[in-house]
Symmetry: C2
Subunit: 557 residues, 2 copies
């Protein structure tokens, strides 16, 4: 006996169908470089999405073809989000911050046939064409002025494609497992790996994010999308905002830290999502002229990429009443795996307990199954103590990397091996202890670099801290801390004493380097691979030289 | 290019997987007839669900078999909700309030092989067995005492099946389009029609309800399920509460109006769902001893079946700050189609405008497409004026009735024709004007019985009102109002004057009957078919005699 329900596929165009009708008067707003704002309604948006899809179709783009984008967060990039998948093609968002050689690799690997780029990306694309991206048969430039001269071609203006397209174009229906988008991981080793998202996966992930009471994405939100739209579909937040009819705000081209602050104040933004460093940089910007800014409209700040420190959670709560929330996700999971919320039965604990809970990666979102697996391959208990490989399974988790032999290392018995190491507590909150490759194996025991980093970053005199493994003759590996001071009076001795209260003696890093900034990956995570590389080539002194010594001489270092 | 995502089906057991781990300590609470409460946790619940599924399997129940239930709202009925579909069988919830002949029809039509019943239903089942339900090969009695004597068999105790089952039983995986449950419509003409729900439909509907900010079903809710669990899976609320980890409260066996009030006060219930009449009856109960009750914990009251009156919305808001919310749904849609929420761009209007908006059926929930169709088969504009047949399409809408020729009347070009007549306003709010068959065709023009009823019920001296069509020599049909006074001083003249301010003269009913109570269907809706039948047999005087004249002589009638 089958379920006798309609066979209606979960398609992104289905979300748009509803939003353009029910929330036709709600707005999509983009910061312009002249300090003003571009704004239009979801009704206008949907018309332009149809025109773009229709225009691309007229231009010969076929279902299944990959259309690449190299663009900032703005309304036109958002138009490609629904137009390209809506017509059955695949939106390939390309990380603007990768090296050109990596970008060349992934354009060729994906086989992009059309490349949509912001005008300021012409020099980059010139380089890419010189390196060789033969599958691309047309370039589409987003901009408001006349078409600039380029050494590559054929080049079309984005607005000309919109003009040629038809507002009356209708979205086709097809299987919900059809590819909608793709994104390459910012691989820290080897070539990037491609993840292909289906319509089904993106619709289900949007619904799960919309359900979450801590993210609180309801129709009345005014949401600022700071996370780059090239990174895992902007964490799927643009789709979720559209699904709920929330006002959606984009920071536009070349935003600076102060721009985010200004946008929030100008537009009464109520929620935002971005890397942890954004929350820190915004705070620093505000601290320079605190009386100029009132950001009390901002109730929710989702910070991702790594766990936000207690200090940053407290500063935002104390200053503006903003709730900093975090989760745990990755490109392969569309992207969210867990999201942090304080279960009612765990609320009312001490301040210490509450912050400890809030710094965990959170509980798995609906439809997501998780487990930790020990070295013997056996599933570990959810006791908050047992640490093992972290595996996940869901309808929005990749079953393979696109055309990539490395799939077989990560996909096992229907589960995806994340490469993270962690534990799960009895209430299902995950604590990610490390990337497998960042674990420090000292004298046969392991040390979590993330635990040490989190502890260091909770120290009031520390702004940023990362801990990496360095070779040791005696112990094989030992931890080394790189610290960016918040307060230049901080001393190594002070940090040692502080860590000794929380960790076994052999966990304390052997050396502490005080530097200007921790190098970051293209998506804002600490780039430990780069630190290990520089250290490997020149040792600690070289590392301090390259990264810059902390601004002033510090006492008793 | 396919989406390279895991092929993980949407199954009810997947929801349970998460809840038993993340919300293991949250509670399921049932009112007992002795005035106390039975309570256990979702962890206990999940163990018993496994035992039940395992026990039924040991008893020979196979995937695809239909397992019927005739039971009240309590934790054991809720166990069947996940155990029966979890093992791949189909849960057929039988309406306790139908006539035995109708129940016999639908048990035979569904081909139920097992019947699970509350002990107090033994006399009913004795009747059903005498009428003939040959497909049933075993009866399972829910109760706490020893097994009562019955004239039918074989009879097993529910708790014995739980005891024989295994806690370690594992849920199988299967196609998400597999049938999970079935429910027959409370057809007002002809035999009931069977709707078969798939796992996919129920999971998606649960997610859509969980997303809704006016229903507000979050983990911290304490939700009282008043709507009968035999009716469209209890409006899918038990599944939604479980999905979100909310505390779930059941009113148990034979609840009275005062029991709902007591439960809310005892347990600090924050939300509930039930028929509109429940909201009225609870109010009346409280009014008798207002100082005994403090229900300020109750923030959300979802009233369904028909539009709640402004008076009832105001009373609950003024008395306890409770927000009365409504929607529009039907058995064929798992069940919700629309849900009412005030869009931020429509908030801040006058009190009149706000109540007018809140009395609409609401906007379509995510994944649901709606349209109105004129007599010529052409889709009508969303202008709030054009009235036509209301059609719907979604992954949780039936594509056919189970083994029923009548499917072809209702399913057209991939859309379900609801049988309701209404309009859609420019923001997608639907106003259901009538069931097609309840429309009054007077002198070639139509009159909406629902519009007249809503207006009458908004009058402070009116408790209940229904308007039905009666034959007219001159006009073919004319409206007749049946009114239950709130205040016995109400007069026909007063109501005529009141209606004349809102409606054209020819809409005003020709006659007003003042009665004790409007007859209701088995799911609490006004039974207009019954009123028309009695009127047809004996005229207005007979109708007043059968329904009872309003308590006391009323002036100037």
């Amino acid at each position: 006996m089958d379920g006798l329900m309609m066979d209606q596929p979960l398609l992104l165009s289905g979300l748009l169908w509803r939003t353009e009708r029910l929330f036709h008067d709600k707005k999509v707003i983009t910061r312009l470089e002249n300090g003003g704002y571009h704004e239009y309604t979801y009704a206008d948006y949907a018309k332009r999405v149809r025109r773009l899809a229709s225009g691309l179709e007229l231009g010969g783009v076929k279902p299944g073809e990959r259309v690449g984008t190299i663009a900032w967060n703005h309304y036109r990039h958002f138009e490609t989000y629904f137009a390209v998948p809506g017509m059955g093609a695949v939106l390939h968002t390309i990380n603007m911050r990768l090296f050109p050689e990596q970008q060349q690799y992934l354009i060729n690997h994906a086989g992009d046939t059309v490349l949509i780029l912001d005008e300021d990306q012409i020099p980059l694309v010139t380089q890419l064409v010189e390196l060789g991206i033969p599958s691309v048969r047309a370039f589409v430039v987003i901009g408001d002025g006349p078409l600039p001269e380029t050494s590559f071609g054929p080049v079309l203006r984005y607005e000309d494609i919109i003009s040629t397209g038809s507002e009356a174009w209708e979205f086709p229906s097809f299987d919900e497992n059809t590819a909608a988008a793709m994104c390459y991981t910012s691989a820290t080793t080897g070539d990037p790996k491609g993840v292909v998202y289906s319509h089904r996966a993106m619709v289900l992930q949007s619904m799960c994010l919309a359900m979450h009471d801590k993210l609180n994405m309801s129709e009345s939100q005014v949401w600022l999308e700071v996370a780059p739209m090239f990174h895992a579909n902007g964490w799927n937040i643009p789709h979720t905002a559209l699904l709920q009819g929330a006002t959606l705000v984009f920071p536009g081209i070349h935003p600076a830290d102060g721009d985010y602050v200004k946008i929030i104040q100008d537009l009464g933004v109520t929620g935002m999502n971005g890397a942890v460093t954004i929350g820190t940089m915004m705070r620093d910007f505000i601290k320079d002229s605190p009386h100029d800014w009132d950001l009390r409209s901002l109730t929710t700040m989702w910070l991702g990429g790594q766990a936000p420190s207690r200090a940053i959670m407290e500063w935002w709560a104390d200053t503006y009443g903003t709730w900093v929330v975090q989760g745990y996700g990755m490109t392969e999971c569309t992207p969210q795996i867990c999201f942090n919320s304080i279960k009612s039965t765990l609320s009312g604990g001490s301040e210490e307990d509450t912050f400890a809970l809030r710094q965990k990666g959170g509980q798995p979102i609906p439809l997501m199954k998780i487990k930790t697996v020990g070295e013997d391959g056996v599933e570990l208990p959810w006791d908050g103590e047992s640490v093992g490989d972290f595996w996940v399974q869901s309808p929005f988790t990749a079953s393979e990397y696109y055309d990539d032999e490395r799939t077989k290392e990560n996909m096992i018995d229907g589960w995806f091996r994340t490469g993270d190491v962690g534990s799960i507590d009895p209430d299902g909150y995950v604590v990610i202890r490390d990337r497998s490759k960042d674990l420090i194996k000292s004298g046969g025991e392991w040390i979590s670099s993330i635990d040490l980093e989190n502890a260091l970053m909770a120290h009031p005199k520390v702004r940023e801290a990362t801990v990496v493994s360095v070779p040791s003759d005696k112990w094989l590996e030992r931890p080394m801390a790189c610290v960016v001071p918040e307060d230049l009076s901080v001393t190594e001795g002070e940090l040692r004493t502080y860590l000794a209260k929380q960790f076994a003696k052999w966990w304390i890093p052997d050396s502490f380097l005080f530097i200007q900034a921790v190098p970051k990956t293209s998506v804002g995570k600490y780039n430990k691979k780069e630190i290990r590389r520089i250290y490997g080539e020149g040792g600690a002194d070289c590392l301090v030289t390259v990264l810059g010594a902390a601004d002033a001489p510090l006492a008793s270092r």
